[in-house]
């Protein structure tokens, strides 16, 4: 009797899961859709999983921009969101679905550089423009002519912060710490080394740590004995905050120059007073005295009831740039024209400053070098 029930239940379960699958696979519409007169943009974002906070910020920035663009009415944009879970295979599936099932005009995203390395060649081969809004490692736009990014690569941001810090604090010898199991941090470390060499700053020592480490006393004790003029750190904000705390505890009160991982309000929240003296280069500076920035922050707060971060700001600008190119291309379906117009975008004045694509489809834009002072990001002058 019980056996029979089990069998029925199993059969039922299998039937349900099969039905779900078949339902999910149904429906294909060919040729870029233009039913509503809106240009269909796909978005691949890290919406669930450990890094969902980044993906969520990006989604909100994009949605805010979409609503503004559609309200203006020059062009209409429809966003199709797909989750990548921060995984390569999921991102590949998402990209394939967006291109071949939803027939999107262009793709925004993905969130992680590793995802872009996996989908970029395929998307480029299909001739679909793709723009990363949060990719900072080297070699992204080298994938192909259809690959763009509006996020500042670390190779452009870090030298700025080191140069400005050198001028301000008269740096002669420094120590470096970086997370050796994080692709962003390793890439950042390489840039730091190169910049220090170019600037003629002596490297006293290099210490490594790993993501999710919580104890940095061994590395920092060593660094403290070297008496550097500053410490360069490449990592994510979680570890960076702990490093700052421990460093101050050990009496290392020199400036700490960070990579893009430092670029988060969370850093100040977690490190507290220890964050003072942290230096980072950022395209996004919420304290900027610019009506555009103020309006963006106010609108974002009104809609999502929180402060926009760097990811939201960059995503917002990215879609605005897309809209400019879309308007100039005059077509909701022509991917090639859109690519040409995107590459030609210049003099866009966004919330992250003046923007243009350089010849390699990387952003050519101003960088703000920020320093934490009394628990707030302020411009380092």
């Amino acid at each position: 009797m019980k056996q029979g029930m089990m069998k029925k239940l199993t059969a039922g379960l299998m039937a349900v899961s099969m039905a779900v699958m078949i339902g999910g696979c149904g429906g294909t519409d060919k040729a870029p859709a233009k039913s509503s007169g809106a240009a269909k943009m796909g978005v691949i974002s890290y919406l669930t999983g450990a890094g969902a906070a980044y993906g969520e910020s990006i989604r909100q920035g994009l949605e805010l921009a979409r609503d503004e663009i559609n309200a203006k009415g020059k062009v209409k944009i429809e966003l199709v969101f797909e989750d990548s879970k921060g995984e390569k295979n999921e991102a590949i599936n998402a990209a394939n679905k967006l291109i071949h099932k939803d027939n999107v005009l262009a793709i925004m995203g993905p969130t992680l550089s590793s995802e872009m390395f996996a989908i970029g060649p395929m998307v480029n081969q299909e001739g679909v423009p793709i723009m990363g809004t949060s990719l900072t490692v080297e070699g992204i736009t080298e994938i192909g002519d259809y690959v763009f990014r509006n996020s500042l690569p670390e190779s452009a941001a870090i030298p700025q912060s080191i140069k400005r810090a050198k001028a301000k604090y008269n740096l002669k010898k420094v120590a470096i710490m970086y997370s050796d199991n994080n692709d962003l941090a390793v890439s950042g470390y390489k840039t730091i080394q190169q910049t220090l060499k170019e600037e003629g700053i002596e490297v006293l020592g290099v210490e490594t740590f790993a993501d999710k480490n919580t104890d940095f006393s061994a590395q920092l004790t060593k660094i403290a004995t070297l008496k550097p003029d500053a410490v360069m750190v490449a990592g994510l904000y979680q570890e960076a905050a702990l490093i700052l705390k421990k460093a101050r505890e050990l009496g290392i009160n020199v400036p700490v120059v960070g990579n893009n991982g430092f670029n988060s309000p969370q850093l100040i929240k977690s490190a507290g007073a220890a964050a003072d003296g942290a230096v980072v280069a950022s395209p996004w500076f919420p304290g900027k005295d610019d009506p555009k920035v103020k309006k963006f922050i106010a609108d974002y707060k009104a809609k999502y009831n929180k402060e926009p971060d760097q990811f939201a700001a960059q995503a917002y600008d990215a879609l605005q740039i897309m809209a400019i190119a879309l308007e100039k291309s005059g077509s909701n379906t022509d991917r090639k024209k859109l690519r040409e117009q995107l590459a030609a975008v210049k003099d866009y004045d966004g919330v992250t400053g003046k923007f243009a694509f350089d010849a390699k489809r990387n952003p050519a834009m101003d960088v703000n070098v920020l320093v934490v002072k009394d628990g707030k990001f302020t411009e380092l002058k």
């Binding site: 089990m6 069998k7 239940l9 199993t10 379960l13 299998m14 899961s17 779900v20 699958m21 078949i22 339902g23 999910g24 696979c25 294909t28 060919k30 919406l47 669930t48 999983g49 969101f81 797909e82 989750d83 879970k85 995984e87 390569k88 295979n89 999921e90 590949i92 599936n93 998402a94 394939n96 679905k97 291109i99 071949h100 099932k101 590793s114 390395f117 996996a118 989908i119 970029g120 060649p121 395929m122 081969q125 490692v137 070699g139 050796d180 199991n181 994080n182 692709d183 941090a185 390793v186 890439s187």
Partner: protein, 324 residues
């Protein structure tokens, strides 16, 4: 036809076949009752070795992938000799640890490009497309474009490989080797007393699993353009284990069904957006609650076989009854 040729579905088919091969690798090791969580580690060895061989040494794929598998096998010898003495959960923990060690080593090597991973790995379908163009099929064949031809040929190659492996596994079951595996799985001590060299057979199963996982890794690297250490973290090991647990590890078909469902399910659930992972998790919990032995067990196969045979018998009786 148009529907089936959509690159989205072709890509999914590739992932399904790769995962099915991984499921088989799990089955091969589990057929001696060994619970190994090293598949992700062996997969990463296969992936990195074959990717480096095609990228840096310019080796053709048909050589690079088997060499990747052999490298995984070699490492299985290093790890297998001491660990196959372990049983049950202890082996699981040791192999899980091994997977993490491999990942950390890859993370710190220069040749693997550390945390940045290897990008720009030559893609199998582009290679095939180029081969078709060289054969003078640049304009495609009939209604098929050259890119579709490339994708389809990759699927055919992968499918042939999978069918070969399935045949091998089925054949194995009925061989002296398979009987020894089954005996060890049922009761290791009894098997040893009956004169089976349990250590030899357990190692052999471990090697076979590692080789197949290495092959799967090499193939996966050449259809995704990019591999990084993050792809082979412990969650990957658990995912591969799930193929066997959900599908059932008693028969060859269990892990195959498991990998098929678990690869398709996340894609099929895309319409549910944020709820996707929740529904996925709920389905797993339900499956485990109602089918702890996995979807396909030996009883399932026996049940359907007798049912189908009974039906045939009834039909035949009816036919013969009709002529009377």
């Amino acid at each position: 036809m148009e529907f089936l040729l959509n690159p989205y579905y072709l890509q999914m088919a590739m992932f399904i076949i790769i995962n099915a091969i991984l499921g088989l690798s799990m089955y091969l090791t589990m057929s001696t009752g060994q619970l190994s969580l090293g598949a992700a580690g062996f997969m990463s060895i296969g992936a990195y070795v074959s990717a480096l061989l095609t990228m840096k040494a310019g080796l053709p794929l048909y050589l690079a992938v088997p060499i990747g598998g052999a490298a995984a096998c070699l490492l299985a010898a290093v790890i297998g000799l001491p660990t196959t003495r372990l049983r049950g959960i202890y082996l699981a923990i040791a192999t899980l640890g091994f997977g993490e060690v491999v990942r950390v080593v890859i993370l710190n090597l220069k040749v693997t490009n550390g945390a940045l991973g290897l990008s720009g790995i030559p893609s199998m379908s582009i290679m095939m497309s180029k081969a078709f163009i060289a054969m003078g099929l640049g304009d495609g064949l009939g209604p098929l474009s050259v890119r579709q031809l490339g994708n389809l040929s990759v699927i055919v190659i992968l499918a042939l490989l999978l069918v070969g492996l399935i045949l091998f596994s089925v054949r194995l079951n009925n061989s002296r080797l398979g009987r020894a595996f089954a005996a060890i799985k049922a009761d290791e001590y009894a098997a040893e007393v009956s004169g089976i060299d349990t250590r030899y057979y357990k190692l052999l199963a471990f090697f076979m699993g590692a080789f197949v996982a290495g092959i799967a890794g090499g193939l996966a690297a050449h259809i995704t353009f990019f591999i990084g250490p993050k792809d082979f973290a412990y969650h990957r090991a658990v995912e591969i284990l799930l193929f066997a647990v959900l599908g059932g590890s008693d028969t060859v078909w269990g892990p195959l069904v498991g990998s098929f469902i678990l690869t398709l399910l996340p894609e099929a659930l895309r319409f549910a957006t944020e709820y996707r992972s929740m529904i996925y998790g709920a389905i797993l919990v339900l499956m485990m609650a109602f089918r702890p032995q996995g979807l396909i067990s030996e009883e399932t196969i026996r049940y359907w076989r007798t049912k189908l045979l009974a039906k045939k018998a009834v039909q035949q009786e009816e036919i013969s009854g009709g002529t009377n």
